[in-house]
Symmetry: C2
Subunit: 417 residues, 2 copies
């Protein structure tokens, strides 16, 4: 586990940790909440606080994993955060463990957004190469990159020139990843801006699943498109038309809930009903808008649906050539705000890993026994007690124009008012 971030924090004479000023002007000087609390509390109390914040009840543990020295060297040489943990699960009598090593990568862009687009994309490829190598060399079985990883998250600008970054699902970025998939026998989830050349060159926000032999298993298109803050994505692509597919890979059944879809419990539910054991949430989101929600929604999804969740957010601040307004009455500005990283895993037993840095590129690895999913279904019984027929009926009525909500009014309310 990387501890450098803790050492960078200033500890005042009274033993309290002080905030350090950031380049982006925020008052926030800590790299992750977990590291901050670890440096601030006694070991015994830190353990108790972790029990609640990381969900480590009943003797459950999220243990650090030792990674090979060459991987650690890649991390220090290329200056990316590297953390690895294992979730615990019970041993079963009638089936062996199904332990999968899963990786998440978060990163900032590499070149300024003013550089030629081809250079920008290839610079990201170059930057990601040692991080993907670190994942492969660590024996990662399934790796997921962040949303629209091949480009700056330019949808705040409303300029259409950024559509040039869109690629067909077998484009250059896919070919780049297919090599790693083959080299490391690794499934890779790649979330890109897709150009559907078979349907009028329409654009989609798409995750594609590259199998561990480099083959393209399939794709999923983002179901829910935001209209909030500077997330003008509805200007660029429409609601996905691929349902809620679960991909049966060499290392388990996986699905992808892209970015804003994490705010929709029904979207999470649907991947669960289709049998997902790991759901990735590749995202791009900024601190001012969503940071307090970030640790809530993914963990709730993992608990409610008895599967693992891998959450990824990009890092850094992306500055665009032309300033834009944000519909908030404030002056024009040229950046989208700070993408706060903080990628992490959540488990169905309500535990989660510490998060990657809020500021640095990073690779987060977790070992997870997929048997834990069924163990939690059996312990808590959420599927059996869900009464889906009640909700099938409610939603069927709700989507009709003549839906009448079930409201019981106080008869004295209008009489005495």
């Amino acid at each position: 586990m990387e501890r450098k971030e803790v050492e960078e924090t200033v500890i005042a004479e009274n033993g309290k940790i002080e905030a350090t000023p950031q380049k982006d002007g925020s008052i926030c000087g800590f790299d992750s909440l977990h590291h901050l609390l670890q440096a601030s509390l006694s070991p015994q109390l830190f353990q108790e606080v972790s029990r609640i914040l990381l969900g480590l009840n009943c003797g459950k543990k999220v243990e650090p994993i030792a990674l090979p020295q060459p991987v650690k060297s890649l991390s220090s040489e290329h200056d990316f955060d590297l953390q690895a943990f294992s979730f615990s699960a019970d041993r079963e009598s009638l089936r062996g463990p199904r332990i999968v090593r899963v990786g998440l990568i978060q990163n900032s862009i590499s070149l300024p957004t003013t550089a030629p687009f081809l250079d920008q994309r290839r610079a990201i490829f170059k930057k990601l190469t040692p991080i993907i190598d670190a994942a492969g060399s660590s024996g990662v079985n399934v790796l997921c990159l962040q949303e629209a990883w091949t480009m700056p998250f330019a949808f705040c600008t409303r300029e259409k020139k950024w559509c040039e970054f869109a690629e067909p699902i077998d484009g250059e970025s896919t070919q780049f990843l297919q090599e790693f998939a083959r080299k490391y026998n690794m499934v890779i989830v790649s979330s890109i801006l897709e150009r559907d050349v078979y349907h009028g060159e329409t654009l989609w926000n798409t995750a594609l699943i590259i199998g561990n032999h480099g083959n393209i298993i399939g794709k999923h298109r983002k179901n829910h498109i935001p209209r909030v803050g500077d997330f003008n994505e509805s200007t660029y692509y429409m609601e996905g038309n691929t349902g809620h597919p679960v991909f049966d890979t060499a290392y388990g059944k996986i699905a992808v809930n892209i970015c804003y879809g994490r705010h929709h419990p029904l979207n999470w539910l649907a991947f669960g009903l289709n049998g997902a054991e790991i759901v990735f949430n590749p995202s791009a989101t900024v601190g001012e808008l969503s940071e307090p929600m970030w640790p809530i929604e993914a963990r709730n999804a993992a608990i409610a649906n008895s599967y693992f969740v891998g959450s990824i957010n990009r890092v850094g601040t992306e500055v665009f050539p032309n300033p834009f307004t944000s519909g908030d009455g404030k002056p024009q500005h040229a950046d989208f705000g700070h993408f706060y990283g903080s990628s992490h895993f959540s488990a169905p037993d309500s535990s989660c890993t510490p998060s990657l840095s809020r500021h640095k590129d990073g690779l987060l690895i977790s070992d997870m026994d997929l048997n834990l999913c069924r163990q939690l279904k059996e312990k808590w019984g959420f599927r059996m007690t869900a009464r889906y027929e009640v909700y099938a009926d409610l939603l069927a009525r709700y989507v009709k124009h003549d839906f009448e909500p079930q409201v019981i009014s106080d008869p004295l309310l209008y009489k005495n008012a």
Copy 2:
């Protein structure tokens, strides 16, 4: 805001807070996570940590409210935790604020479970009287008590004698609360073990809504019944048959998601679709089972459904006359574990209040402008982007026996295995 709990915590010479041993043998010495961190971090860093943990982004605040001195005196005289906060909301141009003062009460039982049942119930009435008076004297408009507040949470025993505590919805406990409702012009939500005398004396886990004139507006029966740990509630009552009613009261549209229903996102959703602005979650749950989930699920529901949530959990350890086993291979024992209190409010903008004590009776009050619900619907657009028709279709298919999950298999998976 009560600070006594912080002062009871031991601060060692190195400035770090140490755990203090508890009567129940746990290593946990802090009364609430919020107070612990407040005492441990510099003000600047505490503010930043609070921003994430309490969801106070974008200048949002959860401000302490000053309560009348007689109310504070009730709190110290009767030794219950007393905290009060206000959530912020924007002023609108075309409608005035709709500020409601809402209260939550958490409490332990009063007499040993071996006392005569009538004495036990009346002792709880007596214990609650000053706390309800404190709520009424603070101008609380809507008050909610904890789940099955009239009795020990005896379902761990599987003994049927505890069914004697069941009452018709106009029984003694309702009459007790109706007086307070009239006296203080206050809506009260009362969650009891209901005996349905018109349907064969069947039992239900029921919340009833007492209007501010003391009238019974209606009732809701718990939709989802747990089968986990010692929550043998399915031995005592069945899944509710009252749908997802929203009660239109003098102070807004409220609903009740009873206890285990909080693990079901669809249950939360249904109250939202029917128009709830505040959903209460009266609960009884123990630390070993659910504490890490407690801050996650309510806040997720508030965010996803754009309404306020009031979460209540009882406090203390209840010891029963006859020891029982727990289906976990461990020796018989006579208690259900520690009910960890920690009642709190969550808002649709992802903010939440600090929690009440993990150990003491308490009253938590919050002022909330119900306009915030629609403001968040408009900001985030979750209702508009929800694509309910997709999920109506999925659930309609899912509940059929011939449902086939949407799975895309790697064609190389079985070829190369």
